[in-house]
C-alpha cells in the first residue's frame, strides 16, 4: 500500500506516546501494526472497503492513550504512564534543559570563534573599545596593570575584554556541555522520558530560537560596526554566526524528524 493510511496514523500517534528503549518501542510498534493490518484484512475479507476495515481495526484495538498507558506501565522506572502530569513535566523540563544547554554551548562556541578571529585579525578588532571612546586614566592604569604586554591603553582594554569574555563565555559553554550530559544520563536512567513529547518539538524551538537570536545579534553587531557604540564588535558577529549555524543544524534535525518514518529504525 502506498501513502499514509489510518493504521500508519495510529501507529505514528502511538510512537509519540510510548516510552522505553528504542528497540522495545520499535518492537511494540511492529507488533501492533502487524495486528492492525491483519485485523483490517480480516474485515475486508468480510466484504467492507479498506477505509471501513482499518477504522474498525483501530477502533477495536483501543485508544492511543489507553494502549500507550498499558504498554508503558510495565514497572520500568520513569516509563510508566507517559500521559501523567509527572511524566509530561519531566519531559518538558528535560527539553528545556537541552535547549538551555544548546544555547550555552553556542555562546561558548561563539567565544571560541571570536578568540580565533582575534588571533587572525587583532584583539582590538574583535574585543576593542568603541570608536572614539576615551577611557579614564584610572581604567587605563588598571588594564595596563593586568595586561602588561599591551603597548597602550586601547590594546590593554582589548586584551582585558578578550580575556574576560573568553573566560566567562567559555565557562558558560562548559556548563552547557555538562548540562547536556546530565540530561542524557537522566534519559538513559528513564528519569526523563524520551518519547512523551513530539520529536519535532525541540528542534522546531531550537531552529526558530537560534534564527531569531542570530538575527538580533547580527543586527546589533552590524549597527555596532557602523555606530561603534559598544565593546567587542567582532564578538557580537562571532556569536551571531554561531547562532545561525546552530539554527541550520537544528533545521536539519527538524527536517529529519518530520520526514522520518515510524519504522525507519533498524531492527
Amino acid at each position: 500500500m502506498s501513502g499514509r493510511d489510518r493504521i500508519d496514523a495510529y501507529v505514528e500517534a502511538l510512537a509519540r506516546r510510548l516510552t522505553g528503549s528504542t528497540i522495545q518501542v520499535h518492537r511494540n510498534l511492529l507488533e501492533i501494526e502487524d495486528h492492525l493490518r491483519e485485523a483490517a484484512a480480516a474485515e475486508m475479507a468480510g466484504g467492507v472497503d479498506l477505509e471501513t476495515a482499518q477504522r474498525a481495526a483501530v477502533s477495536r484495538f483501543g485508544t492511543v492513550s489507553a494502549v500507550a498507558r498499558g504498554l508503558n506501565g510495565r514497572g520500568t522506572a520513569g516509563a510508566a504512564h507517559p500521559n501523567s502530569a509527572s511524566s509530561m513535566i519531566r519531559a518538558l523540563l528535560g527539553t528545556a534543559a537541552q535547549l538551555g544547554a544548546a544555547l550555552m554551548i553556542v555562546a561558548g562556541a561563539g567565544a571560541a570563534v571570536a578568540a580565533a578571529a582575534s588571533v587572525v585579525l587583532s584583539p582590538h578588532a574583535v574585543y576593542g573599545l568603541p570608536h572614539g571612546a576615551v577611557p579614564s586614566a584610572v581604567d587605563c592604569a588598571r588594564w595596563i596593570a593586568v595586561q602588561p604586554t599591551a603597548t597602550g591603553c586601547q590594546q590593554a582594554a582589548a586584551f582585558e575584554a578578550g580575556s574576560d569574555m573568553t573566560m566567562y563565555l567559555g565557562a558558560i559553554g562548559v556548563v552547557g556541555l555538562l548540562l547536556l550530559a546530565l540530561v542524557w544520563v537522566m534519559q538513559r536512567l528513564r528519569v526523563v522520558p524520551t518519547r512523551a513529547l513530539a520529536p519535532t518539538l525541540a528542534p522546531a524551538i531550537a531552529t526558530c530560537g537560534f534564527a531569531v537570536t542570530g538575527a538580533i545579534l547580527l543586527t546589533l553587531s552590524l549597527s555596532n560596526v557602523v555606530l561603534g557604540n559598544d565593546w567587542g564588535r567582532g564578538l557580537w558577529i562571532a556569536e551571531a554566526a554561531c547562532a545561525f549555524a546552530a539554527a541550520a543544524v537544528s533545521g536539519v534535525v527538524l527536517s529529519r524528524a518530520v520526514r522520518r518514518p515510524v519504522h525507519a529504525e533498524t531492527f
Binding site: I32, D34, R37, G62, V67
Partner: protein
Amino acid sequence: MKSEWANGNLDALLLGVLEGGAAHGYEVIQRLRNASDGIFDLPEGTVYPSLHRLEKSGALRSSWDTVGGRRRRTYELTPTGSTALQSARTAWDRYSFSVNSVLGANT
C-alpha cells in the same frame, strides 16, 4: 462486568489459549474470543501488556519471523507457563466451587 472479569484473570486466560499452540497477538485474541463464545471481547490493545508481562516473567517466550512482508511476533507457552496454568486452574476450581457453594449450585 464481563470485561472486568476477563481483565482480572487475563494472564490465566492467555496461558490457557496458548496451551493450544504458539500464536501471535491477533490470533491469541481470536482464540480467546472464540473459546469464550464472544464473551471475552476485550479492547485488543489491552492484551499486549499482559503478553509482554508474561514473557518477562518467563511464562511465555516469543520469537519473530516475517509473514507477508511484515515482522510478526509469536508467543508460546514455556514449562514455567504450563506450571502457572495448572496452578491457575487449581485456584479457579477452588474459587468456582466456593462461589457455586454460596450461590447454591452445588446443593
